[in-house]
């Protein structure tokens, strides 16, 4: 397993993203190719889960687009991801918050994690 991680790190460029976990609200800027043009699009939503480890790790983001929920799964080492920024830290008790899909409106709120300076 160690060899795998070592090789994978060599073959896939390691990116430095901020730490985020399920319940956080993040913005992912990713490149999309339209014909021959390339542009950056942003996707903001709540992280439902982080899955896998190493270069094959993926994460799922859910946002409400009008009345319809939209989920996107990103591989964390995808070369298309430009940047990830954390907008809000959520306080959740689970690593995978699939119950969040059933919540709408006022119920679909996540308490913010507060950090106090020591």
């Amino acid at each position: 397993m160690d060899i795998i991680n070592e090789i994978a790190k060599e073959l896939v460029p390691v990116k430095d993203f901020p730490d985020f976990k399920s319940g956080d609200t993040v913005t992912v800027a990713y490149k999309i190719i339209e014909g021959s043009k390339e542009r950056v699009q942003q996707f903001t939503g709540v992280v439902l889960q982080r899955r896998g480890s190493g270069v094959t790790e993926t994460f799922t983001i859910r946002k409400m687009s009008g009345n319809v929920g939209v989920e996107r799964i990103f591989p964390i080492s995808s070369p298309f991801i430009e940047s990830i920024s954390v907008n809000k830290r959520g306080k959740v008790r689970r690593a995978r918050i699939f119950y969040f899909r059933e919540r709408t409106g006022k119920a679909a709120r996540i308490k913010e994690r507060k950090f106090f300076a020591k």
Partner: protein, 205 residues
């Protein structure tokens, strides 16, 4: 038709220049030692026997010890023959992963993971009976009929039935080599190969 003995390390994925993720298997291939050269005159056919992996001196039978001593090498855990090796190799020569290049298509032979005694649904992909209600109570994954009655009055050979599944030799052909890391003796092939991590595989071009 060069070949090499290797050990499956595991799977990961790498990204192409266009950003496509490709699942791939990492194989530790070689270094192998030529432990025997078989010739037309002596053995009736041409082949190269390679040895891979280390084996304890104490647990090696004496006849094998002598065999390895001839090639001037330490006892090897796994031996395999390869025919029609490119170029002439001599006893004791070392074969490394650089017999392959990225872009080559190879065949990989391994032993699949054992699944034990399995029924026909898992073993042969039968559909089962199809209904779990309407009167049938314990036939959901049954094979159904295995033949006619008084004629032929027997079950034909090769009838697909339940039995040992997996743990047998499997060949996967035409796997593309994505990368060869010669300094680490690693070969990365596209897709999956048979067997568990750490199992021995043969790679043939």
């Amino acid at each position: 038709m060069p070949g090499i003995i290797g050990r499956k390390v595991g799977m990961t994925s790498i990204y192409s220049a266009e950003g496509k993720a490709t699942p791939c298997t990492v194989i530790e291939a070689g270094p192998c030692v030529v432990t025997q050269v078989k010739t037309q005159e002596k053995d009736g056919y041409e082949a190269i026997q390679l040895g891979f992996g280390d084996r304890k001196e104490g647990s090696t039978p004496s006849p094998l010890k002598g065999h390895f001593k001839k090639a001037n090498t330490t006892p090897k855990a796994k031996l395999a023959e390869f025919r029609e090796f490119n170029g002439s190799l001599n006893l004791g020569d070392i074969v490394t992963a650089d017999v392959f290049q990225a872009g080559d298509f190879v065949d990989v032979i391994g032993t699949s993971k054992g699944k034990g005694f399995q029924g026909v649904v898992k073993r042969h992909g039968f559909g089962g009976v199809g209904q779990s209600t309407h009167g049938q109570h314990n036939r959901l994954r049954a094979p159904g009929s295995i033949g006619a009655a008084s004629y032929p009055a027997r079950v034909f050979k090769g009838m697909r039935m339940a039995g040992q599944t997996g743990n047998k030799q499997v060949l996967i052909s035409n796997l593309e080599i994505l990368k060869v890391l010669t300094d680490k003796n690693l070969v990365i092939v596209k897709g999956s190969i048979p067997g568990a991590k750490g199992s021995t595989v043969l790679i043939k071009k």
